[in-house]
């Protein structure tokens, strides 16, 4: 039997935004510990996430650069976990459908 190797990679990239993906708190590196955590980051009762517009712009630029299809309708879903360092007990996953799909990046 002939097997073909197909390898998937999950790559995390930090975007160079001034504030966090779902809150207005600063992302500036090197500040005092906990000095840049706001009520939204802590998931306190009553807070709501607001998507960082600049992050979406950057993602779209990236998508254009790699020839991705950019979905005009994209959704964040909640994924539930109990982790002590996950303040809301949920993650917000951009997957059904994600902002970018079907890109091609050729490697030499």
């Amino acid at each position: 039997m002939n097997w073909e190797s197909v390898i998937g990679l999950e790559i995390h990239v930090q975007l160079a935004t001034n504030s966090k993906i779902f809150s207005g708190a600063s992302t500036h590196y090197g500040a005092e510990p906990n000095a840049q955590a706001c009520a939204v980051d802590l998931g306190l009762p009553g807070v709501l996430p607001v998507l960082n517009e600049r992050a979406v712009e950057m993602a779209i630029k990236f998508g254009l650069a790699i020839g991705a299809k950019i979905n005009l309708h994209s959704v964040f879903d909640r994924k539930n976990y109990f982790y002590p360092d996950l303040p809301k007990g949920i993650k917000s996953a951009n997957s059904k459908p994600p902002l970018l799909v079907k890109a091609l990046l050729s490697s030499p």
């Binding site: 306190l44 009553g46 539930n80």
Partner: protein, 477 residues
Amino acid sequence: MSAGLEAGTYTSVELTNAHLDDIEQRNTQSNSFITIAREHALAQAKAADAQRANGDATPLTGIPIAHKDIFCTEGLLTTCGSKMLSNFNAPYNSTMVERLNAAGIVTVGKTNMDEFAMGSSNENSFFGPVTNPWDRSKVPGGSSGGSAAAVADGLVACATGTDTGGSIRQPAAFCGITGLKPTYGRISRYGMIAFASSLDQAGPMTRTAEDAGLMLSYMSGFDPRDSTSANREDDWLKAIAHNGIPKLDRPLTIGLPKEYFADLANADVIAAAQAELAKNGHTFKEVSLPHTQAAIPTYYVLASAEASTNLSRYDGVRYGHRCENPTSLQDLYERSRSEGFGEEVKRRILTGTYTLSVGYFDAYYIKAQKIRRLISNDFNKVFEEVDLLMTPTSPTPAFGLNEHAQDPVAMYQQDLYTVPTSLAGLPALSMPCGFVNNLPIGMQLIGPAFREDTILSVAAQFQQITDWHQRHPGETA
């Protein structure tokens, strides 16, 4: 009250002190307050008097009000009616509280509620049930039962509430007051503890439609911190502070959805209210909302699903109730949540977790979303023919304490006439329109999205020619 402050008959500090004395004395009867905030209120009253002396007063400056204990208030406990948050001091104000503070309002306390706003009787509160001012053996409705009872008892002229499936309108009906659930998105949800995020909406609970309109004008507005907040400019809303509720320029066609009148116990009271409205020239038309019967199961699938994820943050790790001497992380989660939540909250978390789980998600959650769209389409269709809908607010007047406590399905049926509007995100108001056995009966007016002006105008007209809203418990009806 505003006129007395304006004329200088009394100061806000005097008014607030009188209210606080009254609340402290009479709260034992109703249990409508979880927190009475004397110090906080007097500081706000003093600031309000200064605001008036500077010539910056709004019609709400110096008026004592109460907030449902679901709104985060800096400097006061915010318990959400739960043991889980019985020690929770929010470090920030909700947007709505912030807006009312800027208008110079005085917060005299936080009102009792069903735990996490889950309930139709206010019996699901960690702080004990609230009694109905018209009959202390009856429930005040829920979940905003404390706010409704406080207004009906005359402890405050206005209070804030929240409505997910009827939690402003049903207690307003049971307590004989006026309660408005605005269009979804009208009032920011930032700082309002989430139950079911796609349904939750804050609103005013008052004696009159005029006061509800005035409160609405200060509570609402676009908020960049809430992505579902409506970004719109309604001239009528801005003008309420100066001109009051807008006057109608023509008589309306009011729809009577037949599904809301089947098996109605107090049809004669609603018919009499209809006759009063007809005196203002309005005409009536029978209409149909065919998916009404599907609303309750749809609502309980969706609301419980949203609740199960919204409440997963209460884990005993950072704030809120934590069990004694946890032996492991698992033990900490299990016991903190088992001890911190009441029965109804647990029931909904379990139901919601089940419907969201792999294999059931499509069968329950996705299907319920589709039915929700059908219910919403029903309303869109009838609003092509009529300007407004008139219905009873609930199938019965206030029921007895413990009457439905052992039967959650019977309790859920209480929301039959209020849930469809919530699923469609539409504005609706309940106001008293008569009495049966000395218990108030509520009439509901439902409007198209963002047409609270039409609802309030008709309600104000009705309240000009009737006096049901001026009845007080203890007087003979």
